[in-house]
């Protein structure tokens, strides 16, 4: 049963991160996830210091707030200071992360908070955190949280499909229609921020960043429409979780790490397949 929960958690994270990551890639902001996963540190520390408790809900909120704050800073730097968006991502998250590190080092003396417990969740522990309703065992809490979040992400994408499509492809034309492109941007970033923080808490940073970028990038290679890209993203995300889990068992290695590696292998596989296919097409075209 534990295996099942771990694979399910991995898949849930892969799908919610992947679907949002697809938009990030199309908006040339793939590294925003990485940025958010670092920029949340001061939020977590401040939430802890204010509330004096390690209640995960509060820490999550503090983190999500700083995630969103970092996306605002990135936008402001890029738009107002006219800095390239990758540079503004870099400036924002190193700066916020550094503040977090300083806060941790200042206050960790009198509190039981350290970088490890804040920064790295581990997917192997997912089955241990069980949710009880009275006496009844409802399964692991992270599964419920992640499942609910995935439901919200899918609902958001379904309802806002056309809005996200047009503001990602052609912001000028969207503004010309009177669509508030900034609002759409921040709704998306809010969802990314919350999803990253939630997933990060459950499965660790590397896997979240990998799932945000790699499955949608793989899907991008194969798709000529956004819907197709979303469907492939789901497939590659779930496959990464599944293959990664068995790789980890086989190697007795870190599960998160193996899942990230699996997503990379799938990407390479698709890339090679495409190159070969193109060569074959060329060959056929010449011989005909």
């Amino acid at each position: 049963m534990n295996d099942f929960w771990i694979i399910l958690e991995g898949s849930l994270v892969a799908v919610s991160c992947g679907l949002l990551g697809a938009y990030l890639i199309l908006r040339k902001m793939a590294m925003v996830g990485d940025a958010i996963s670092h920029a949340v540190l001061p939020g977590i520390v401040i939430a802890y210091l204010v509330a004096q408790s390690r209640s995960s809900i509060l820490l999550l909120l503090g983190a999500a707030l700083f995630g969103l704050l970092s996306t605002f800073l990135i936008e402001i730097l890029a738009k107002k200071a006219r800095i390239q968006s990758d540079a503004s991502i870099g400036i924002t998250f190193t700066w916020l992360f550094a503040i977090g590190v300083i806060l941790v080092s200042l206050y960790s003396g009198n509190a039981d908070i350290d970088q490890d417990c804040v920064l790295y969740g581990d997917i192997a522990f997912v089955p241990l955190d069980t949710l009880f309703l009275g006496e009844r065992d409802l399964g692991p809490t992270p599964i419920w949280l992640q499942g609910f979040n995935l439901f919200l992400v899918i609902a958001m994408i379904r309802i806002g499909y056309r809005g996200f499509l047009i503001t990602s492809f052609d912001p000028s034309f969207s503004s010309g229609l009177g669509i508030k492109t900034d609002t759409w941007h921040y709704v998306l970033m809010g969802a990314v921020s919350f999803t990253v923080v939630l997933s990060f808490n459950a499965v660790g940073a590397i896997l979240v960043v990998a799932f945000l970028v790699v499955p949608p990038a793989t899907a991008y290679l194969l798709s000529n429409q956004l819907q197709t890209m979303m469907i492939y993203t789901v497939i590659f995300g779930v496959l990464s979780a599944l293959i990664g889990f068995y790789l980890a068992t086989w190697w007795s290695a870190s599960i998160s790490g193996a899942m990230a590696v699996a997503s990379g292998i799938l990407f390479l596989g698709v890339l090679v397949y495409q190159k070969l296919l193109r060569k074959r097409k060329k060959f056929l075209a010449i011989t005909n």
Binding site: D170, S172, L177, G178, S223, Q225
Partner: protein, 260 residues
């Protein structure tokens, strides 16, 4: 009726004005060219007119209303390089965007919307490519998709940024005919255009720009050697030839008459 009016319009990037105190009017039902050298603020003027860029001072009015109040009646073709053509979307997906409306973004698009998009694609000769990904089109075909998308908007006034760049002569002719039909139906088409030679043939109204307004009015009033020299800095030989052509205008006009 006045289709378009700019009044004391100043627009800048980083405090650097790129449009300075622009003041002109365009009557309804004209094919209008916005002409000027690179960096003279043509794209900026179109964006300000669409309400995408904020003016520092002054304003733009479309049919005597602010752009915000009248978006449903405005069609727009951005400069082609302004988007990523590797985006995973088909020709049909992009054309359908012409049917998106601010208020109806969440509802379903109707069958009628689809028919309008199909019709627009047919008019620019891109219907056979409807299921192609946009990355697999040539530059000129991409440009035609953008024009189809604006046609699908079924607007009363169209603002187009260099819609003819990279388009072959035959497609240019057929698209120009579509625009002329629209003009006969009372629509106004305003476009940024780079080719001075064809400008003479295409437009009945011209706005000549170089950060400041050089001249605006009917094309024979505006396209004089003096105005062109003011706009382009008087270095080009071609300018005097164009001006000559304008002077001897009876000739191209007759040619056009005899074609009909």
């Amino acid at each position: 009726m006045i289709a378009f009016e700019a009044h004391n319009l100043t627009v800048s990037y980083d405090k650097q004005p790129v449009l300075w105190d622009i003041d002109f009017e365009i009557p309804e039902g004209k094919l209008v060219g916005i002409i000027g050298p690179n960096g003279s603020g043509k794209t900026t003027l179109i964006k300000a007119a669409m309400g995408i860029l904020e003016a520092d001072s002054g304003f733009v009015k479309i049919f005597e209303k602010s752009p915000d109040e009248i978006r449903e009646r405005m069609g727009y073709v951005p400069q082609r390089q302004s988007v990523d053509w590797d985006f995973p979307a088909t020709v049909m997906d992009i054309t359908m965007m012409g049917r998106y409306r601010k208020g109806k973004l969440f509802g379903r698009l109707s069958k009628a919307d689809r028919e309008i998009a199909v019709d627009s694609l047919k008019r620019v000769g891109m219907y056979d490519f409807r299921d192609r990904q946009i990355s697999e089109l040539s530059g000129g075909q991409q440009q035609r998709v953008f024009i189809a998308r604006s046609l699908a908007q079924q607007a009363d006034i169209y603002l187009m940024d260099e819609p003819f760049v990279g388009i072959d002569a035959a497609s240019e002719e057929s698209i120009l005919n579509i625009l002329r039909e629209m003009r006969s139906a009372g629509k106004t088409v305003i476009m940024v255009h780079h080719d001075l030679h064809t400008a003479l043939e295409f437009f009945d109204w011209v706005v000549l720009l170089n950060t400041r307004l050089v001249a605006a009015g009917s094309k024979d009033e505006v396209l004089t050697e003096e105005n062109l020299r003011t706009a382009y800095g008087g270095k080009l030989n071609v300018l005097s030839r164009i001006a000559d052509l304008v002077k001897r205008q009876e000739y191209p006009l007759r040619e056009e008459d005899s074609k009909e």
